[in-house]
């Protein structure tokens, strides 16, 4: 028989113990999940089901964007494409304090809105911005934290696969309405990150903004950046104009940046294996984490832990505010080891009917859920975005986590606003007649 308490103890206790002895984060999720699986199904069936779920966790076309964008990032750095792009962005927004970090935040919002993947965004933009920030004396852990914190913006700003999955799990809530509802919360997310960076920069006078550039400088930077801007035209433009899907756009970005680097003669064919290998290693670590978190998601679903948690927690109150707060707290915690997709598939059928019974609009609920899970995808210890962000910045995890804290506090504050001010989500879709 399944003992939910024992399983919860194994999952949580195992995670803490393994992290403490310095086991890889992925193994700290994987081994306790596998042990829980053995407890439920026996070792034979537990092992095979764990293997199945691991394979299934990695076997997704959407995840392919991750290695591609990591690779494109590495190539752009080696090829000087990134530098030209950032120099151009810098003459435009360079007067704010900590201009490179602010550029990173804005680039993540734009890039993320198109790619829709927080990990891919952190990889692509971060691997481009981090080396430049490091060279100019920015604290690498802080710049990594800013990159990580602003990477999930695109999960809210449409198009967003996460919102599509919510629509599916919610039994057909309008995707169009969800997309429109995501805009303002997504923009709020980006503003929150920019504000934290601004406060940090005020305390670090060495990160002061650039002087106003002359028109000549702006023009020459623009001309130098033109071929590099082509990358944005080709990759982002191609996705928006309907030539290819975001995942395919990532592969096209690889090819374009490679051709451009050859044209600049900044990358030699001999260097390609090393570049491919670097990208492969970084993305493998992230994919492995996503794969093993599939085991945990399965164990929880099989043992019906989410239902039990919900039953235990919602029994004693009938206050809408308390119920929503409990839901948000559960999602915030559960979203840390789980990827947003399984988290949505598991929790929407349990939470949404309760929320609706309290008069919450399903579109609004979708936005608060995705906002919440977007905070979870950057939460330590187990966050693919955090891993990739630290990797591309060559920063260690602990200092990055320390610098992430102010971002968390502010983002959780914004989450409260999104939860308790439905108009932020619903105003735009209502304006457009979608609700």
């Amino acid at each position: 028989m399944i003992d939910p308490l024992a399983i919860t103890l194994v999952l949580v206790g195992g995670l803490i113990v393994l992290l403490a002895v310095g086991a890889p984060v992925s193994i700290s999720i994987a081994l306790p999940s596998a042990v829980a699986m053995f407890m439920i199904l026996g070792v034979d069936n537990g092992a095979i089901t764990s293997a199945q779920q691991m394979f299934r966790g990695a076997n997704s076309f959407a995840l392919l964007a991750i290695p591609f964008f990591v690779l494109a990032g590495v190539i752009m750095n080696n090829g000087g494409i990134a530098e030209r792009l950032i120099n151009f962005a810098r003459v435009l927004v360079g007067r704010t304090p900590a201009p490179l970090t602010q550029t990173n935040v804005i680039a993540n919002a734009i890039f993320g809105s198109v790619s829709g993947s927080a990990v891919a965004t952190a990889a692509a933009v971060g691997s481009t911005m981090a080396p430049m920030q490091r060279r100019e004396g920015y604290d690498r852990a802080f710049s990594a934290a800013a990159n990580v914190a602003s990477a999930p913006t695109g999960m809210l700003i449409p198009p967003s696969n996460t919102l599509i999955i919510y629509s599916l799990a919610a039994g057909g809530t309008s995707v169009g309405a969800l997309f429109m509802a995501g805009y303002l919360p997504g923009i709020l997310w980006a503003i929150a990150c920019a504000a934290v960076v601004w406060v940090y920069a005020r305390k670090h006078p060495e990160l002061k903004g650039d002087p106003r550039p002359s028109f000549g400088v702006i023009f020459s930077t623009f001309v130098k950046a033109l071929p590099s801007l082509g990358l944005i035209v080709v990759a982002i433009g191609g996705i928006v104009a309907g030539f290819f899907t975001p995942t395919e756009g990532a592969a096209i970005a690889v090819v374009y940046s490679l051709l451009l680097s050859f044209a600049y003669r900044s990358i030699h064919v001999r260097e390609l294996p090393r570049i491919l290998y670097d990208a492969c290693r970084t993305s493998s670590i992230v994919i492995f984490l996503i794969a093993v978190s599939g085991i945990m998601g399965y164990v929880m679903a099989y043992a019906r832990l989410p239902q039990l948690i919900a039953d235990a927690l919602f029994g004693w109150t009938d206050s809408k505010v308390v119920v929503l707060l409990i839901m948000m707290a559960i999602l915030l915690v559960i979203g840390i080891p789980l990827d947003p997709t399984p988290a949505i598939l598991i929790f929407v059928p349990i939470f949404l009917p309760i929320a609706i019974s309290y008069g919450v609009d399903p579109v609004h609920f979708g936005i608060m859920m995705v906002f919440n899970l977007s905070i979870a995808v950057i939460s330590p210890p187990s966050a693919p975005v955090l891993f990739v962000g630290a990797q591309v910045s060559e920063a260690r995890l602990e200092p990055v986590i320390r610098h992430l804290m102010p971002f968390f506090i502010v983002l959780i504050g914004v989450l409260f606003i999104v939860v308790f001010v439905p108009e932020i989500s619903l105003w735009l879709p209502q304006l457009l007649g979608l609700l």
Partner: protein, 170 residues
């Protein structure tokens, strides 16, 4: 022993690089067949997904070999070296257990079960495609055994506190 492992590592590098390059080409080909040839290929997506899983699983084995996987050792590095050794060995044994029981044993089970299940568009059976998991588990185990031997050896240096490392890399 080390020579064999270095050789193995180099072969795995080459496989990863080749598969990764193939992955890019597959997706580009998918776009090309749809946009230019107007005859979308039915097999590229499936092929790309499985290539991707293979690259990732072989990649994680090499990453583990290079000790590149993400750990949080801020507690361990405060311990005396003798206890660091103990913690390291426990951590390696945990990873080894997972690799052997789930990836090799569970993975081989899964391979056997699906050995004759055909794939709708690829010329491999599902079982053959699943081989990535036990193979990766086997490679991981090899590298982990080497790490365990290293942690037991006299040359074990322990964890370098982070300040030193940051300073050293600047």
């Amino acid at each position: 022993m080390t020579a064999i492992l270095n050789g193995l590592s180099r072969v795995l590098h080459a496989i990863c690089v080749a598969l990764f390059a193939a992955l890019v080409l597959l997706v580009v080909w998918q776009v090309f067949t749809r946009l230019v040839l107007n005859d979308p290929s039915p097999w590229t997506e499936e092929a790309a997904r499985f290539t991707f899983v293979w690259v990732s699983l072989i990649g994680i084995a090499i990453a583990t070999g290079e000790k590149a996987d993400v750990v949080m050792d801020f507690l361990v590095e405060k311990l005396p070296r003798s206890l660091q050794r103990v913690a390291d060995i426990i951590a390696y044994l945990c990873t080894l257990t997972f690799a052997l029981v789930v990836m090799v044993f569970g993975g081989l089970h899964q391979v056997t079960l699906a050995w004759t299940q055909t794939n709708p568009v690829l010329p491999f059976t599902q079982g053959q495609l699943y081989l990535a998991l036990p193979i990766s588990g086997f490679l991981l185990s090899l590298f982990l055994i080497v790490h365990i031997v290293g942690a037991l050896s006299r040359a074990y240096v322990g964890h370098i506190p982070q300040e030193d490392e940051e300073a050293a890399s600047l």
